[in-house]
Symmetry: C2
Subunit: 252 residues, 2 copies
């Protein structure tokens, strides 16, 4: 009998943003596989077996899950946010392809991804056309990152940056912000949303002129507005940030 | 006393993909405001008041919600998917700005957006850098849509197209597919995901060469792969579609 791999997105943090389908998959699974800090956010029962690994070991983790499922087990591969956005779902299918297919069942359970959770806390900066770019260059050349940011600026997308910094990559975000300062107005709104919906959540709204890489850490999602993105004073203090549905012609 | 506006994303369809936070907001609200077919997906109690409107009346709907909240009411403005992605959150802040601010509380409750729900059903086509573009040209010039698609192709993004067709816009999707056929390989995977997670769900995987606008209706989310997006045979029948985390240099 073949088993079942559930690739589960936990949502941004708070369990109130985790879907019932994700909670069900975590309940059904006998094995929970994932990056340690994400597994710590799942409620593990005594009869469940936890396989925690480091954050550079995605492919090993995927192979482990497929092996357990080939042995007939129900396995949940756990990601933060949505499993399909810079997370474990792509890695799992990479492992499936490398091993020449699988007979086990695979269900990808979607979740609330970091960029829409971050956007909701500050208004609606992703209310019109936008893109999502990972700043990790472990797996892609740095020049590709810059080329994508340039094209995204040409498209006048709002931009969501995942994995903006890490210990191994302290300088990338600064490079992208410098590039964007050549391409977009200095008053363009920029949002640094850290640990969204968790107890230590921190949201900073600034401008492209004021944005600094030190405002981000590994738990931060960075949003840079399009040319249309605007701030509206928030009753009391601070501002809402939103991108109108209406777009003017792009000059190019 | 000022009221509270909750801008709520219901998720793609099935309640199993609706977050507890969204369900709570629907419970707390005394007034439910939204497009009729979306409100039909919320469970309405006898003591709740429903304000259903047509799908071209977003701004009126937002003003109505703000008015009710100014009168001290708890109001839920209901969107499908995630409220911040081509949905009511941006419209609400547009209305706030137009009326010069508000003293009522606003909470945007995120949800699972259509593109990640669609992606999950077919694998992980949004597993690496991607963009989201609305093909509606009610509110933006058609040339802007084409210019964005061109820039997105240059960035080698996977692309998710919202609002691909409507009665008033039967030809846009065909125009975009024709443009993409000039810019991307004919074997590029294309996914048409209609009514995801609903009883009448239909998922079609084809190629850019085989993609036709008739495969989409108003309930369809269209995903066009990047140059790296690949198919893996699915045990039994059909294929998984995924975009690897690894990207090569983009030629430009």
């Amino acid at each position: 009998m073949s088993g079942h791999v559930y690739v589960v997105g936990l949502g941004p943090g708070d369990e109130r943003h985790r879907t019932p389908a994700a909670s069900d998959a975590l309940r059904i699974a006998r094995h929970l596989v994932g990056y340690g800090p994400y597994l710590a956010r799942a409620s593990v029962r005594d009869d469940q077996i936890v396989h925690a690994s480091d954050n550079r070991q995605e492919l090993d983790r995927a192979r482990k899950a497929l092996q357990l499922a080939a042995d007939g087990e129900a396995v949940a591969v756990v990601s933060s946010g949505d499993a399909g956005v810079f997370a474990m779902a792509a890695t799992l299918f990479e492992a499936v392809e490398q091993q020449g297919g699988t007979t086990c069942e695979i269900t990808v359970v979607p979740g609330v991804t970091a960029m829409t959770a971050a956007a909701a806390r500050i208004g609606a900066p992703l209310g019109h056309d936008f893109c999502a770019i990972s700043l990790s260059d472990n797996l892609k050349p740095w020049e590709t990152v810059l080329q994508r940011v340039r094209a995204a600026a040409e498209a006048d997308f709002a931009m969501a940056f995942y994995n903006p910094v890490s210990k191994a990559r302290p300088w990338q975000l600064g490079g992208v912000l410098d590039l964007l300062r050549e391409l977009r107005a200095p008053e363009t709104p920029v949002v640094f949303a850290t640990a969204v919906s968790r107890p230590d959540e921190e949201i900073v709204v600034t401008t492209l002129a004021g944005a600094a890489p030190e405002m981000a850490d590994m738990r931060t999602l960075v949003i840079v507005g399009s040319s249309a993105t605007r701030c509206v004073p928030r009753g009391g203090e601070g501002a809402w940030v939103y991108t109108p549905r209406r777009a003017e012609a792009v000059s190019s």
